[in-house]
């Protein structure tokens, strides 16, 4: 009860301080009146009575203060008063305040922006229930060196039935469907999943019903679930959508549900979700089509799950028959092992390193900004020495003065933080909107409460820390020195100069580290740019993708003829010099990797043959891509339709297997252990298919209409067209392409139209992003460092005016005076540079994973950064040093 009373009374007083004071006054007055009356009754005159009463009570003001001071609300009042006073002091010095706040806003803003990226991408948990229990279920085939084998239907069924550690398992595969009947035919991306997939994630549909086991039955009706975005854009968000039909790839599917607006999965564009509809009876052992995701039982660890999956892998061959043409030994030779990883790790990928390096970089910038502001505060406190000394002499304790200084610097910190937050929020919004760098989880990046808390903490901490420096130096001034009236000129005592010099050295050192970092990134970028990707004149290559569904165009030969017809029509467009079909856009494609058998190099017993990248191409591939035929020729359309077994290989594969590209011609290879041997008829120059910073994979180029043992061949249904034309990227060209395709088959949507140049730039985007940010941080750091140096030398010149005047009067030449100060500046930056180089050598090792063909100790970069620093330092010291020469010796000697 008493606690509650304390609180309410305190709040009452805070609310109406005047009324509370008045009440105290009245009480004290009443006491005095009664006292006076008492003395009067004893026989004193009214005046004497009053005086006696006053003497008895003592100093009335003191008594009032004493009563007033009781209560917790007074502490708050005092703090508020101090705060108002600090704010007034800062307003009185607008230049200093503005400079400090701006500097801090820069440092805090940059740090907050990068922190929000780190928080959104690396730290925030995934938006599912209990996301830490979600694992990505994949495998590694150690026998054939395939790192991401994925999940096969046989294994999915085995794990669902036999596992002990999973609460639920789902299998998923990315897909795209041609939607017709809703206006123009459109290719819509989505997922094919097993029925428990959404349950694994803990996602409930916002409308309609979830998937049931009956949806997975291939004999049952086809069902589909829409995403919120697709529902709103194509069905107007009407609830009547349930039960309606959607034509997918020519087959009808019933809409059974709509996903919630917040649903996302691994940054994929998902408009539709369909059940996989696997027929368990037809599933064969080896069919790694998909990826898996599972929810661990409470208490199960990742290690236990990996062990359990390893156990179940041995059970699978007993449950499912082998594919025709493959033996049990083949399966064993693959040496499949489980690869379970937290789902978040799969999504985030390897960008963690880049982000931490960037965070470190802006952290350094923040440190430099703080050092700058600390310097400014020291100068200001220096100017207040007399005032502080007087206060200390009157009786202010060290704590009181220190509190005031700290409050002032904290106020600066918070103000800087507020502006910095505004800057950061603009920067973050720009980053998210531009989608320049393809960050994972980019839509999770925002200024959320965690980021706000971080900004507040950093602002207060920064304000506190750089406020401590002047607090320690000036809260307890040496009274005798400070109170002397000429205290100003004695202000150049070694001790005070020491602190500022140390701060400048630190600033210069950190700036050098950032410069070295950005220099290394610049060299990396240059090195990446110099790599020949395997194609030429990328701005002139337009790419597009077409998918020919089997339901619409059955028959592999018909499909290939249709693709050829589209190719001819596009070739006939104005300005087009070459067109070809391939699978997988260069630099973007991935994972069609399979073992290849070579005729005269029988694989050793027990070892599976090495794995190569498979691509299926049409004639004209080499010229459309701008690559080179090192030897031989390309297949012709005739050979493709007649299914004559030919193939091309990449240069590195030819060298590896037959030492020389020429020797590869005439050799025979085949993808499986049965079927025709294909003759190698051409060798193509290397293509850096995995990205410019990776080695070029060895590639086998099969004909477009591929082999199918005992069958009629398989067409390439997902075809990427490479169109070489100077008009690439123009809207006119794209429209003409659409018309050309539609004239052959109006139900084929054209998807993913982009120039190869755009793809190339995208692959370099992460490096350029890091480079740009580090370069900005580096130049800002250099600027701040030079400004700090400028400040110190200026102050030194101003303080030594008398000394300079004496020197000049005694006959020193003006250049010598300038040189004296210049040397001081260069000495400071020299020490800073040496410390910076040492620090850079240590810290840049952390950047190693971001660099390409550049060592973290690259001498050229270090030399360049040091040169830039020395140049900037010279300018920064020279300008104030020159001002020393304008000192008039007579004025200087006369002035006090």
């Amino acid at each position: 009860m008493s606690f509650w009373r304390q609180v309410t009374r305190g709040i009452q007083v805070l609310g109406n301080r005047r009324a509370a004071d008045q009440e105290i006054d009245e009480e004290v007055n009443h006491y005095l009146e009664e006292s006076t009356a008492m003395f009067a009754a004893k026989g004193l005159t009214p005046d004497e009575a009053r005086r006696a009463a006053r003497m008895e009570i003592g100093n009335e003001a003191v008594v009032r203060e004493q009563i007033r001071e009781y209560g917790w609300e007074n502490t708050i009042d005092t703090w508020f008063a101090d705060l108002r006073y600090a704010a007034r002091r800062l307003r009185g010095k607008p230049g200093f305040t503005a400079a400090s706040i701006l500097t801090l806003a820069l440092g805090i803003g940059a740090t907050t922006a990068i922190f929000s990226v780190v928080e959104g991408v690396l730290v925030k948990p995934l938006p599912y229930s209990r996301p830490e229990r979600l694992v990505a279920l994949s495998h590694i085939a150690q026998g054939v060196n395939i790192k991401d084998l994925g999940l096969a239907a046989s294994l999915y069924f085995t794990y669902s039935e036999e596992n002990r550690v999973f609460q639920d398992i789902g299998m998923w595969q990315a897909g795209a469907w041609t939607v017709t009947g809703l206006g123009d035919p459109e290719e819509v991306p989505g997922l094919m999943v097993t029925n428990r997939f959404l349950a694994v994630l803990g996602v409930q549909p916002a409308l309609g019903r979830p998937f049931l086991p009956s949806d997975d039955d291939p004999r049952g009706e086809r069902t589909v679930m829409l995403s919120d975005g697709y529902w709103k854009s194509h069905f107007g968000g009407e609830r009547t959508v349930l039960g309606r039909h959607l034509m997918l790839n020519g087959a009808e599917a019933t809409i059974i549900g709509v996903l919630p607006p917040s649903f996302q999965f691994l940054d994929r564009k998902i408009s539709l979700i369909l059940p996989q509809r696997l027929n368990r009876a037809e599933v064969k052992l080896i069919g790694f089509c998909c990826q898996g995701v599972a929810r661990l039982k409470p208490g199960a660890t990742l290690a236990q799950a990996n062990a359990d999956v390893a156990r179940m892998l041995l059970l699978a061959p007993a449950k499912f028959p082998l594919n025709p043409g493959l033996s049990a030994k083949t399966f064993r030779d693959l040496l499949i092992v489980p690869n379970l990883r937290p789902l978040k790790d799969v999504l985030v990928g390897d960008i963690g390193n880049t982000l931490w390096v960037l965070l470190g970089g802006v952290g350094l910038l923040m440190a430099i900004a703080c050092a700058n502001v600390a310097n400014l505060l020291l100068v200001r406190a220096e100017g207040r020495r007399q005032e502080l000394a007087i206060r200390a002499a009157i009786g202010a304790g060290w704590g009181r003065i220190a509190r005031e200084l700290l409050l002032e610097s904290s106020l600066l910190g918070v103000a800087g933080g507020a502006f910095g937050l505004a800057l950061a929020s603009v920067a973050v919004q720009a980053l998210v909107a531009s989608d320049f760098v393809q960050l994972p989880r980019i839509h999770d990046i925002s200024i959320d409460p965690a980021v706000l808390a971080f900004t507040l903490a950093v602002s207060l901490a920064a304000g506190f820390i750089f406020g401590l420096i002047p607090a320690f130096k000036y809260a307890r001034p040496h009274l005798s020195g400070a109170l002397r009236s000429d205290g100003r000129t004695a202000g150049q005592s070694k001790e005070r100069h020491h602190a500022r010099s140390v701060l400048v050295v630190v600033q210069v050192a950190l700036a050098l580290v950032l410069l070295v970092g950005s220099g290394l990134m610049m060299r990396t970028f240059q090195a990446l740019n110099r790599v020949h990707p395997g194609f030429s004149r990328a701005p002139e290559i337009e790419t597009m993708r077409i998918f020919v569904p089997a339901e619409q165009v059955p028959g592999p030969e018909r499909t290939t003829r249709m693709e050829e017809e589209i190719l001819r029509k596009v070739e006939a467009l104005a300005g087009v010099s070459a067109v070809a079909i391939t699978t997988g856009t260069p630099l973007e494609s991935c994972c069609d990797n399979n073992p290849v058998r070579v005729e005269d190099q029988a694989s050793r017993e027990g070892a599976a043959p090495p794995v190569r990248r498979f691509k299926y191409v049409s004639p004209g591939y080499v010229s459309a891509l701008g690559s080179r035929l090192i030897a031989g020729r390309e297949p012709t359309w005739n050979e493709i339709y007649k299914r004559i077994p030919v193939a091309m290989v990449s240069e590195n594969m030819a060298r590896e297997l037959w030492t020389e590209p020429r020797k590869a011609l005439g050799k025979r290879i085949r993808p499986m252990s049965i079927g025709d041997w294909h003759e190698v008829i051409g060798v193509v120059a290397d293509l850096r298919d995995d990205g410019v910073d990776q080695k070029a994979p060895s590639i086998v180029y099969w004909p477009l209409l591929r082999e199918n043992p005992g069958g009629a061949g398989t067409a390439t249904r997902s075809a990427v067209y490479l169109i070489r034309t100077p008009r690439a990227g123009s809207i006119g060209l794209r429209q003409e392409i659409q018309h050309a395709v539609a004239s052959v088959n109006p139900n084929l949507p054209v998807a993913d139209v982009k120039t190869l140049e755009a793809v190339y730039k995208r692959s370099l985007a992460r490096t350029s992003f890091t480079l740009v940010l580090l370069a900005i941080a580096g130049s800002m750091a250099l600027l701040l460092g030079v400004v700090g140096l400028y400040g110190v030398i200026s102050y030194s010149v101003a303080g030594r005016t008398r000394e300079v005047g004496i020197r000049l009067a005694l006959g020193a030449r003006r250049q010598n005076v300038t040189r004296m100060f210049l040397c001081q500046g260069l000495a400071l930056s020299g020490i800073g540079a040496i410390c910076g180089l040492a620090a850079a050598l240590g810290l840049t090792r952390l950047m190693r994973s971001l660099l390409f063909e550049v060592s973290p100790a690259d001498p050229l970069t270090y030399a360049g950064a040091s040169a830039a620093l020395v140049l900037a330092a010279t300018i920064g010291s020279y300008i104030p040093a020159r001002r020393a020469t304008r000192v008039d010796p007579m004025e200087a000697l006369r002035a006090q």
């Binding site: 009860m1 008493s2 009373r5 304390q6 009374r9 009440e23 105290i24 009245e26 009480e27 004290v28 009443h30 006491y31 009146e33 009664e34 006292s35 009356a37 008492m38 008895e56 009570i57 003592g58 003191v62 008594v63 004493q66 009563i67 009781y70 209560g71």
Partner: protein, 111 residues
Amino acid sequence: MNGPNTDLIQGTLDMLILKTLSLEPMHGFGIARRIEQISKGVFKVNPGSLLTAFQRLERVGWLDSEWRQTENSRRAKFYWLTRSGRKQLEVETANWNRRASAIARLLKAEG
């Protein structure tokens, strides 16, 4: 005044205020005079400490207060004991008696 140290320490003052108010509600001056009277002038109450004590005791919840008219039609702040105040008075009285008899025993033992 000179003479024996009769300034009251905080805890004792609280107890005396509570005791004084246990008889009837009073204003500050009245309480000061009553304490002086009953202690036959041994204890002189410092007005500042007294009025501050009232703040403290009110916040803790042992007193309540109200502005009323006195006999000479002046406005004064009257205080009275709350129920927890009465309980507190009993507790403090018991403590004081215990301490006083202990000290008395100690003094007798030495002599």
